[in-house]
């Protein structure tokens, strides 16, 4: 086994890892050696083709098909240089005060997170998109909401030079999204941070990491790793885990830390989601333009958030319920489809958690809570109302007994809703916001880290990703992850003299 030494090793290169790398990178000028270890590949610009299965296989963990233990929900998260910031839509939301206050983490204030979040909003060029880039899929959502007097809002998005490919979730083919792969990581590398791709961290030991570097598979996208394939031991005086809310808890569990950290893996939330699809009588612009420009936030009262969205043929087909003629009829009307994503606000509970299997692979145990199901159901029928108000002639409703609702039956929505049924394993649910598992708090009995991401009892080990969230954020999380990672980096900078 080869041995390599660094002062600081950062595991993962997404919103958390990219931010920590950038914020610590000035230390390289003082002679410190810093490495980012990323399991996924680093793609060249020309490899972002926008082809659905090809890109999903290259950029997502398990090709986007990571399933919960019972198989009833798909969890999508990135596995590439830049992590999930490569495959999100760039929606940039400040942490909600209501949520941060409710988290009630000693030492963590909303004011501090908000200040840091605004720094990253500016750094990532988050802004409201010009009207000329907004397609009818979004405009009809606004129209429907306004007709119903709903408080529709526009998302700030972190794009620069967007051509409106609509392919954000497959990695922008025009490098317009200002994710960690475009902003924080390149800056960190310019300052001297090394990024090692195809490098999976197997276990964490006392100031060491056991890692395995994989060869580039034949025909795969991305550059080979900077390192030769094989097993390595990395000695690092400070280790920062930023592998995400599934892989960071799993890594610590694989490393035998469950005994000293009884909350490890617990508190997992994910914003379970599904799509509601409306068909219009005429083609609309939907697969062109930024796909996610508006939202309706009903989290506080009704436990759901509606967001505009536009997916690709397979994901759309998979995300609609049922099969056969009714399903095909919607798919065949693709240029006339309007889509709304319903996200539910789930709560940290005693059951939902990250565990590992015998081989040490992550296993997510997830049960749909009554609150989340209520949020999905209310959100689904609110979305249907909006679609009909916007002029849809029929709506695909995944939880209705008959999944197609004609406009003539729009007045019967309350009655249809009353008979609707959410059935795990039948209702197609997916999640793209995995959170929790290494929650912040005041001590090991109730949490895994302190409010600066330091793992209880291990002064050299930090966490800086969405696994820190002690409960659901109720909104798209990347800016909050960056704000928390900024706090972690600040604490490390302050303590470098003592820790090295």
């Amino acid at each position: 086994m080869k041995r390599v030494a660094y002062d600081i090793a950062i595991v993962g290169s997404g919103a958390g890892g990219g931010t920590v790398a950038q914020e610590l990178s000035p230390l390289c000028r003082q002679g410190l050696r810093i490495a980012v270890l990323e399991k996924g590949p680093r793609l060249r610009d020309e490899e972002f083709t926008g082809r659905e299965l090809e890109m999903a296989g290259a950029l997502y963990e398990d090709g986007g098909g990571f399933l919960t233990a019972d198989g009833a929900m798909t969890i999508a998260f990135g596995c590439a240089y830049g992590g999930s910031t490569v495959v999100y839509t760039g929606t940039s939301m400040l942490p909600p005060k209501r949520v941060i206050d409710r988290w009630n983490v000693p030492g963590l204030t909303h004011a501090d997170l908000d200040r840091r979040a605004r720094k990253f909003m500016a750094e990532n060029n988050a802004h409201l998109v010009d009207d000329g880039l907004i397609n009818e899929n979004n405009k009809l959502f606004v129209e429907g909401c306004r007709k119903l007097n709903y408080d529709v809002r526009q998302f700030p998005v972190n794009i620069k030079g967007c051509r409106g490919s609509s392919l954000c979730n497959l990695g922008c083919p025009n490098q317009a999204k200002q994710g960690a792969d475009r902003v924080q990581l390149p800056r960190a590398e310019r300052n001297g941070v090394e990024v090692v791709t195809r490098c999976q961290v197997l276990t964490v030991g006392e100031k060491t990491l056991a890692v395995r570097v994989a060869a580039k598979p034949a025909g795969a996208k991305g550059d080979p790793s900077l390192w030769e394939p094989g097993d390595y031991q990395i000695d690092a005086k400070i280790i920062v885990l930023c592998a995400g809310a599934v892989n960071t808890p799993a890594l610590l569990l694989r490393s035998g830390m469950a005994r000293s950290l009884p909350r490890l893996g617990y508190g997992f939330t994910s914003h379970p989601a599904f799509i509601i699809v409306g068909e219009h009588s005429r083609p609309i612009t939907n697969f062109v333009g930024h796909p996610k420009s508006y939202y309706l936030d009903r989290a506080e009262r009704d436990y759901f958030v509606l967001e505009t969205c536009m997916y690709f043929p397979f994901i759309t087909a998979k995300s609609m319920a049922g099969f056969g003629e009714p399903h095909s009829a919607f798919m065949g009307a693709f240029p006339r489809l309007q889509m709304i994503l319903v996200l539910a606000c789930d709560e940290a509970d005693a059951h939902n958690r990250v565990a590992i299997d015998k081989a040490g692979r992550p296993v997510v145990h997830y049960r749909f809570q009554a609150q989340a199901v209520a949020g999905l159901m209310r959100g689904a029928f609110t979305a249907a109302e909006i679609l009909f108000a916007a002029g849809a002639v029929r709506v695909h409703m995944p939880v209705a007994r008959s999944t197609t609702i004609e406009a003539a039956d729009a007045a019967r929505l309350p009655e249809i809703a009353a008979a609707a049924e959410f059935r795990p394993g039948k209702t197609p649910v997916s999640a793209a916001h995995p959170q929790g598992g290494c929650g912040m708090g005041s001590g090991p009995a109730g949490s895994v880290t302190d409010s600066y991401g330091r793992v209880h009892g291990l002064p050299w080990l930090f966490v800086a990703d969405a696994s820190l969230f002690p409960n659901s954020l109720e909104i798209n999380p990347y800016v909050t992850i960056m704000a928390l990672a900024d706090r972690v980096a600040q604490r490390i900078r302050e303590e470098v003299p003592a820790l090295l």
Binding site: E52, G65, A317, S328, F334, G425
Partner: protein, 131 residues
């Protein structure tokens, strides 16, 4: 092919889930199988085994009710068999069908020809491609 030795059953299931698949020619089926094969290549052997078992169950369960296997049923009866699995009271059965349905939909809609057929034409050029 990961779902061998059940290609006939698989095709019957595909054509029930996506009726348009019955119009696929030989090349279309080869493309669909290729997508499915690529999708399953790196999946655990246990998953592939479960899929094969599930397919065989789909083939033989209808004998009890209809007196003939799935591949010899009319399309409407095939759809009823799959609908029963989709709505089964046991979650594991529903999840099994959902997994199979996912693979079928990937095989069919993962082909560029299918995207073209339904009018999906997203382009990296975005607005320039449509204006």
């Amino acid at each position: 092919m990961p779902l061998n030795p059940d290609p006939a059953i698989f095709r019957a299931v595909v054509s029930t889930i996506v009726p348009e698949a019955s119009a696929l020619d030989g090349q279309g089926w080869r493309d669909l199988h290729q997508v499915v094969e690529a999708l399953l290549r790196d999946r655990p052997e246990s998953l592939k085994r479960q899929l094969r078992i599930f397919l065989r169950a789909i083939q033989w369960l209808p004998v009890v009710r209809y007196g003939r296997p799935f591949t010899r049923l009319r399309p409407a009866a095939r759809a009823r068999v799959l609908a029963h699995l989709q709505d089964d009271r046991i979650q594991k059965v529903r999840v099994g069908f959902w997994g199979l349905r996912t693979i079928v939909l990937a095989g069919y809609y993962g082909r560029p020809q299918a995207a073209q057929a339904i009018g999906y034409a997203a382009s990296p050029q975005g607005w320039e491609a449509v204006r």
